[in-house]
């Protein structure tokens, strides 16, 4: 069983309540005095954050590493670039997501309204990058399927396509040539509706930092990290398999599915093992990143070496 009780957080990693309450007070006070923009005061917390049972029994990767070791090429190619370049540059408000395509009720998601009306839950997921490193991250978010259903996808909606913000003024990395910007990704509709697929709006109980894909991103824990598209501005229900940026960049190296699979190597490096950030050496990579019990049935009968 993969879904475990919440017992794996070291007590040293838990911020004492007094500390975070006083932190919130400080921020609220600063906002009240006009020292901070009002949005930031809301930023601290999800007041009704519910701990979900979707939780892996492994030590969390430190918040510092989760927020300072990022692939977000819109802000530079190096892992340290996004945390250096994205905060302050990426403007997460106002923010809307346009939802259209094969659905009965196309519309728009306004991030503030969305946060107010959604039941945000915390889920601790493994995160496995295609570059063979991994983390364990406490996300805050909403199941993607619950959000998609509101727009009533029709029977023609076989896939869901996602798109990232495309603003060179905010994202200096868009000047990098060779990529088919804006960043775009896709899921099969049954993958998108799977309860593990998450629309994340925070991590470590705090608002999603810019470098992690503020204000809202996708998390698909059984797939390589690049499927988790960041800073989403558009969602489309489509009938045929959508193009994805990395697949276009290098078709033989990055498949549409990109399920974590230790038996299918990247053409240039092994996927059998992974380096867990914060540890030494390498640990074996698990099929579907350890979520095989929940998701393997989505792919029954498929040749996973062909549909990698």
């Amino acid at each position: 069983m993969l879904i475990r009780r919440p017992d794996s957080i070291k007590s040293s990693e838990i911020t004492p309540q007094s500390a975070y309450l006083s932190r919130r007070q400080l921020i609220a006070g600063a906002a009240a005095w006009g020292l901070l923009p009002a949005g930031l005061a809301l930023a601290e917390a999800f007041p009704n954050l519910r701990k979900s049972d979707y939780k892996v029994d492994e030590a969390l990767t430190s918040q510092k590493d989760v927020t300072h070791y990022n692939n977000f090429y819109e802000f530079g190619l190096d892992k340290e670039d996004p945390s250096a370049n994205a905060p302050g540059k990426l403007k997460p408000r106002p923010w809307t997501i346009k939802v259209d395509g094969e659905c009965a009720k196309p519309g728009t998601i306004d991030i503030d309204a969305f946060l107010k009306e959604s039941a945000i839950e915390e889920r601790v997921y493994r995160h496995r990058c295609v570059e063979a490193w991994s983390m364990v991250i406490p996300w805050a978010g909403v199941p993607l399927g619950d959000v998609l259903k509101r727009f009533e996808p029709t029977s023609n909606a076989k896939y869901v396509a996602f798109e990232t913000l495309n603003d060179p003024a905010q994202m200096p990395g868009l000047r990098e040539r060779g990529f088919d910007w804006p960043y775009h990704e896709g899921l099969r509709i049954d993958e998108a509706m799977h309860p593990l697929a998450l629309l994340a709006v925070g991590l470590y109980g705090e608002t999603l930092p810019a470098q992690n894909g503020a204000p809202i991103r996708l998390v698909v824990p059984w797939k390589y990290g690049f499927k988790g598209i960041k800073s989403i501005v558009r969602i489309r229900f489509v009938e045929s398999q959508p193009k994805t940026l990395w697949n276009t960049y290098s078709t033989k190296e990055y498949g549409f599915y990109s399920n974590v699979n230790p038996d299918v190597d990247h053409p240039r490096w092994s996927q059998a093992k992974e380096h867990r950030i914060g540890e030494f050496g390498r640990r074996p990579t698990l099929p579907f990143n350890g979520y095989a019990d929940q998701v393997a049935s989505l792919y029954s009968g498929m040749d996973l070496k062909r549909y990698f």
């Binding site: 060779g178 240039r268 490096w269 092994s270 950030i277 030494f280």
Partner: protein, 188 residues
């Protein structure tokens, strides 16, 4: 005295790396950061070593010739540390997996081939070895460096997921240095 400065200069990146590691400034993935840093400097110093002869031939700067062996050996030292970092810190002596990587993944194949070509050159770098082997044979053996350095640059290009600008620059410089030798030998 000059030689001492040259040694210090070559050691500087290593000292920098040591300081960064000691202060915990290598980031979330210190092993990868250290391995890449060492590989970078190995390649850079070996390219400098390859530049010595063209500088002498084309640029008529003869003073640099005295530093060729020193540069070659320092470059090799960084390559050895780079490889040790991979075997010990990254793979933790997982020889089965290392073997698999060498056979299956061309960027590891290229890197290992470059190392295999460089090792005998470092071993025969002394004045005594030149005498024992004879100038011609020694020179023939040491022309392996013309293959090893481009292989090192290819190893780098094949490793990166994206952002090939820097490794491509290294390969271009290497090939230009080799071209300069060929042109000089042929048309001088």
């Amino acid at each position: 005295m000059r030689r001492l400065y040259a040694h210090l200069l070559c050691a500087l990146p290593l000292i920098w790396l040591g300081a960064q590691a000691a202060l915990g400034l290598l980031g979330a993935n210190p092993v990868e950061a250290a391995i890449r840093f060492l590989g970078d400097w190995g390649l850079r110093i070996l390219i400098l070593a390859l530049a010595v002869t063209p500088l002498r031939q084309v640029g008529k700067v003869s003073a640099v010739a005295a530093y060729r062996r020193m540069l070659g050996l320092w470059g090799f030292a960084y390559v050895v540390l780079h490889l040790l970092g991979y075997v010990v810190l990254d793979q933790f002596f997982d020889w089965a997996n290392i073997g698999h990587e060498i056979v299956k993944h061309k960027f590891i194949t290229a890197g290992m081939a470059a190392f295999a070509l460089l090792a005998p050159l470092a071993a025969t770098s002394t004045q005594g070895m030149i005498k024992r082997m004879g100038g011609m044979a020694w020179r023939r053996l040491h022309s392996a460096v013309y293959l090893a350095v481009p292989l090192g640059a290819l190893h780098y290009i094949w490793m990166v997921k994206a952002g090939r600008a820097q490794p491509t620059l290294y390969l271009t410089i290497t090939l230009l240095l080799l071209l300069s030798r060929w042109v000089y030998a042929r048309f001088r």
